[in-house]
């Protein structure tokens, strides 16, 4: 199986700060991947590394089996929508479609025109005058119409109102249903991810916390509630992600592949938001626990 995105120890440093570190991922094709994490976690950095807008400081990344932006032909197989959906403000919507056709041999004119008509965009309108939602849709059209195998979207709906957001995701899902593109989409709204994605990557503080198909993740994480006990007595196969104890009660969030046989626990399924929050919380706690390195001269 050829991974659509493969990263090995990938890292990117700006000056002294590592925006992304030790990122290892293997994303299978045909998925809609949600990349979740707080602002500044490194999501945008990872996505820009994947399209060749940034060069790695450490490690490697391969997209569709090759270096990102390895050739014009490779660039044609990956569609990208950057954060804030940049468009050429002084050019019209129709101009943008023309530019897309000129710069991409794989351009599908009919698809582009159909989408613009469906969206009700005025072809003569200058892109600078479009609303945020319309700009996002235009940017998505430009990415889709070149018929890529892989779509990478950097927080495309972050600054959109709920209706525009819904419409964007509808258009995106329709494309996935029709053309079977693989998608990686970053967001900090878990609700959107839950609707639309079937694979999750949680990125916090420049590191990957957890990655995998959402169904598998939800099937292997549980909330255990029961009488207070020593956490060391738990079987090794159960990894504790989050725990909280009162004098009488223990509440744990565990990850396990096997069944939970201990009758003392009340076992509950989690929803995606609980799972993401647990990993984000663990990462934050890990940051605080790690000693800060103070430079001594």
């Amino acid at each position: 199986m050829n991974a659509v995105l493969e990263a090995n120890g990938l890292g990117k440093r700006y000056g002294r700060r590592w925006a992304l570190s030790e990122c290892t991922l293997a994303i299978p094709p045909g998925q809609v991947v949600g990349l979740v994490g707080p602002n500044g976690a490194g999501k945008s950095t990872l996505l820009q590394l994947a399209v060749g807008l940034l060069a790695p400081t450490a490690g490697t990344i391969r997209v569709l089996g090759d270096r990102p932006a390895a050739s014009p032909e490779h660039l044609g197989r990956v569609g990208f929508v950057a954060q804030d959906t940049p468009v050429y403000e002084s050019l019209s919507v129709a101009d943008h479609l023309r530019v897309g056709a000129w710069l991409n041999p794989g351009w599908d004119r009919d698809l582009a025109q159909r989408r613009i008509d469906q969206l009700g965009l005025d072809p003569a309108q200058r892109a600078g005058k479009l609303s945020g939602g319309q700009r996002a849709q235009l940017a998505l059209t430009l990415a889709i119409a070149k018929r890529p195998e892989f779509l990478i979207l950097d927080e495309p709906v972050a600054s959109l109102d709920p209706l525009a957001r819904r419409q964007f995701l509808q258009g995106l899902m329709e494309t996935v249903a029709e053309h079977g593109v693989s998608v990686v989409l970053s967001s900090h709204l878990v609700a959107d991810i839950e609707r639309v994605c079937d694979y999750l990557v949680v990125l916090v503080a420049s590191r990957v916390q957890i990655a995998g198909p959402i169904d598998d993740l939800l099937a292997s994480h549980f909330r255990l509630t029961g009488p207070r006990r020593d956490l060391n007595t738990l079987p090794a196969s159960q990894e504790i992600i989050e725990s909280s104890q009162t004098d009488r009660q223990s509440t744990l969030l565990v990850r396990t592949d096997g069944p939970i046989v201990d009758p003392a626990w009340t076992v509950e399924q989690l929803d995606l938001e609980d799972l993401v929050l647990a990993y984000m919380g663990r990462a934050a706690a890990g940051e605080r626990a790690r000693p800060r390195i103070v430079e001594v001269h």
Partner: protein, 344 residues
């Protein structure tokens, strides 16, 4: 890619075309008139015998245009650098549209190559056409003034302007690539352009070809006189640099018959013996004593000129154009490397 470049450049191209058209129209009309005036008044003046008045009268025509066109040609390359060069990449980086441009099916190198190449060519054409028409307009005046090789005029005629424009354009693009913000790039490119132009004009141009030397009598000087010069305050002989038609006189020095340079002290000594009235600044000095003294100086001293002869004019034009074009290509190389490897 070329069509995209055109789409993004339309407005600037339109402004340039309109400005060029207006300029061309004005110059065509006035230039034809000037040429006609020349052929009827100055060219025929030897027949009539009164050349000086005709020439002077001719020089006064279209003073306004004469004063405007020179500076115009000086300024146009700078404008190209600021308005065509600096925003080219800086604007895309500032607006984030490079994230759109560099994820299309075009390599970054091709993107930059087409933009630099096509707009660089456009700069050369604009500069070339402008220079052509201005040089044509000035040709009767240049024939009369015979000063086309001197700094100031040399920069405003011929093909050097093409070199300046191409260089200014690529310099602007480079500033945009390095600074990534349009306004600072505009400022930096203008400042550097002026700096490089001054450096080439005063430090490099005089040495492109070793100057020739010639001796001329002291009376060829454009201004003769006696006065105190320098810190010593003693009266000495002053001769302003003579003019050689269409040549570039770089320096002129007063030299003794033996060939040695005549210093201020030596000249003062000579004056003390030859023209004591003038040397001591007596009130009785008049036209007669002045003329007699000059004759005495002229008998013992002459001027040695370092100059570039008129027949080297085009050599210098080509050399200087080549220097700027070479610099432009070097900067273009820097841009390519930076955009491919360092920009993000």
């Amino acid at each position: 890619m070329i069509r995209l470049t055109w789409l993004q450049f339309r407005v600037q191209a339109l402004i340039a075309v309109v400005a060029m058209a207006i300029t061309a129209l004005v110059l065509a009309v006035t230039g034809a008139r000037l040429a006609h005036l020349y052929s009827t008044s100055v060219a025929t003046c030897t027949v009539q015998g009164d050349c000086d008045t005709a020439t002077n009268a001719f020089r006064l025509h279209d003073q306004f245009l004469q004063n405007m066109l020179g500076p115009l040609l000086l300024v146009v390359p700078g404008l190209i650098g600021i308005f065509w060069g600096a925003p080219l990449i800086a604007r895309e980086v500032q607006a984030g549209t490079f994230r759109l441009a560099w994820t299309q099916s075009v390599s970054r190198r091709r993107w930059l190559a087409v933009k630099l190449g096509s707009l660089g060519l456009a700069s050369a054409i604009v500069a070339g056409l402008l220079s052509l028409i201005v040089t044509w307009w000035f040709s009767p005046l240049d024939r009369v003034n015979a000063n086309r090789f001197s700094p100031g005029v040399f920069d405003e005629r011929g093909i050097v302007i093409i070199g300046y424009a191409v260089f200014a354009f690529v310099l602007g693009v480079t500033a945009g690539v390095l600074l990534r913000r349009t306004l600072p790039a505009m400022a930096m490119s203008l400042a550097l352009f002026v700096g490089v132009r001054l450096a080439v004009t005063y430090l490099i141009r005089p040495h492109l070809v070793s100057p020739a030397h010639t001796s001329v009598p002291v009376t060829s000087a454009t201004g003769l006189g006696f006065g105190s010069s320098g810190s010593s305050g003693v009266v000495t002989f002053i001769a302003k640099t003579p003019r050689i038609p269409n040549a570039w006189v770089i320096s002129s020095q007063i030299v003794e018959k033996s060939g040695h340079l005549a210093s201020t002290a030596v000249l003062h000594q000579f004056l003390m013996t030859a023209c004591p009235d003038i040397a001591n600044q007596q009130a009785g000095a008049n036209q007669g004593t002045f003329g007699a003294c000059v004759a005495k100086v002229s008998a013992n001293y002459h001027l040695v000129l370092a100059y570039q002869p008129a027949n080297r004019y085009w050599t210098f034009q080509w050399y200087e154009t080549a220097i700027f074009v070479f610099l432009a290509f070097a900067l273009a190389g820097l841009c390519f490397w930076w955009v491919s490897n360092r920009l993000t």
